[in-house]
Each structure stands twice: as C-alpha cells, then as structure tokens.
Symmetry: C2
Subunit: 195 residues, 2 copies
Amino acid sequence: MGEATTARRDALLQAAQRLFSQRGYEATSVRDIADAMSIKAGSLYAHIETKEDLLWEILTAAADRFFAAIEPIVASELLPIEKLKRVIAAHVEVITESASSAAVYMTEWRHLSEPRRSEFAARRDAYEELVRGIVRDGIRAGEMADVDEKFATLLILSSMNWIYQWYRPDGPMNPEEIARKLTAMLLKGLQRAGV
Amino acid sequence: MGEATTARRDALLQAAQRLFSQRGYEATSVRDIADAMSIKAGSLYAHIETKEDLLWEILTAAADRFFAAIEPIVASELLPIEKLKRVIAAHVEVITESASSAAVYMTEWRHLSEPRRSEFAARRDAYEELVRGIVRDGIRAGEMADVDEKFATLLILSSMNWIYQWYRPDGPMNPEEIARKLTAMLLKGLQRAGV
C-alpha cells in the first residue's frame, strides 16, 4: 500500500476502534465509521470488505501487541517471580497505551464469526498458557506458594484486564505505578504478614 | 399483577437477560425476545414500554441482589478480614447463581440512557464504597497491609467480577471453592512467604 493509503487505513482502524469501544461492535455501522471520518460510506468500501474485517484487524493487532510485549520476557532466563513482575508491567503498558483497543479486545471478540472466533480464542488460550507457564515454574521452583496454577493465572490476567475500565491517561496513577502496586498486592497479598 | 402476568413477566426478563448476555443489548431486538418466547412481538408490548425498560429492570434486580448479599455482612460486628472473606463468598455466590445476569450487569449498563446511566453508576459506586470501607477498616486495625485502599478494592472487585466469564455450573469448582481459593490468594498473595 502507498503511504497515503496506509495513513487512511490507520485512521479508519482508529475510528472503528473508538466507536466499537464506545458503542459496541453491533451498534456501530459502517456508516457511523464513515461519518466519524467525515467521508462517504461508499468510499470506505475501497478499504474494507466487511465491518467484521475491521474488527478482525483490530483484534489481531491487539493480540500481536500483547504477544510481542511478553514473549521476550517469557523466553528469557529470568527467575519466575521476576518474569511475572515484568510480564505484568508489559501487559499493563499495552492496556494503558490504548484503552479503546483493550476494551474491544476484552469484550467485542464474541461478535466474530467462525472460523475467526475459534482462531481468536486459540490465541487467547496460548497467551494464558504463557502466563500459566511462569506460575507453574514459580511453584515448582518454590518461589511461589502452592496455589491452584490455573486459578492463579486467571486472577493475574483478570486483575490486569480490568484496568481498561477505569484507567485514564490524565488520572492519578501512571502505568508503571499501576503495575507496581498490582504486582505487590498479587505477590504479597492484602493481609498483613503474621496476622 | 396477577400470578399469570407475573410468571409471564419473569419469563420475559429471563429471555431478555439470556439474549442480552449472549449477543449484547444493542444486537438484540424486541422481536428476538418475542421469538425466544415463541410469542408475537406485539404481545410483548403489553408487558414493557421499551427495550431499555427490560435492561433497566434486569440491572436493578442484579444490583438489588448484590446489595442484599453483602449489606448484612458490612453492618455486622465482625472484624474486617472476616467481613471481607464473607463478602467475597456472598458476591461470588450472586455471580455464580446467574452468570447471564452478571454478564449483563458488568457489560451492558453502558447502553442505558440518562438519567438511568448515572443512577446505575451511583449504585455501583455505593457498592464499591461498602467494600472499600472494609479495606479501610482492615488497614486501620492493622489486619491488612498498608496498601492503596482504592486500588485494593478494585483488585478485589475485578477479580470477582471476571468469574462470570469462565464459570460453568458443571465445571470443576463450585462457588464455595472459588470463593475460598480467591480469598486465600488475595489475602496471602502468590509469592511463597519468606521468599
């Protein structure tokens, strides 16, 4: 694609992502997206086949960012707890960089049709498995408590994935602070030691 | 309302709740709800004013259940950590009793129009404040670590509110076990003590 076309496509994906995150995928029409870009709906079809193609491209790009952020950490020689700390920081950074992307990623995938829906689910499962591997290694190495490995993984992911719901770039906490506090609470717990 | 009318209305709310949780509120038409009940859309309007009335009734009933479950615990004379344990168990029970109700409660409220949207947000804030009060008391009493009180509250709520996404009544864990594991992880943390 030429430079102008790529820029137009990026603007299109940004507009779609914003609307999908605000109103939901089903409630957003191609016409709405065109209106948001101040162009005619007909012109949009030079750039996309269907509305679902836009959703798919947004979800794929989001998944790519999550994987790219944590794969080098998972593959490193760090000890499990240190890996987990860095994975949390990297994942939180991806979410806070684009809350609208995260919102679409967390909630709108269910509107995909098959086989895309299954393909998306498989990528989410693979991502969960990367985090679960760290928890498993941490338990084996004696760094982590003898917890239910799957449940602990869900707790870690869910507590991070909720952040897009309340994070604001102009809010009181920056991404590093969020990751640091979250990591401390998840690792050390809320109860005072010895109580 | 007569008994027959009440039964029909309950069936209507159940059907709407199931469809809203599966497809999303915006993607569900009154016609879809009527089809799911095998009646004519016209007959539905004897029972509702608008589709949003159904959403509002579902959300209000869900909020009522959450409050009814935890208010007696909050008002009790128990110590903060014990209160927190029981609140988690009660909240998890509400979610697992009806995952479709929880799904609508967590995601579809954003489709409310004003002033209902603000009223709903105020109730959620009030609920969050009940949990936050326990965390605050726990920190003051020295039972809980000196954590960021608001952040800890969000962690507790978010880790519970994610459960509707993966809980299955025929799955390997019952609600009591989920609450017990979640409570242990949140209170004691994932890191092995002393590491």
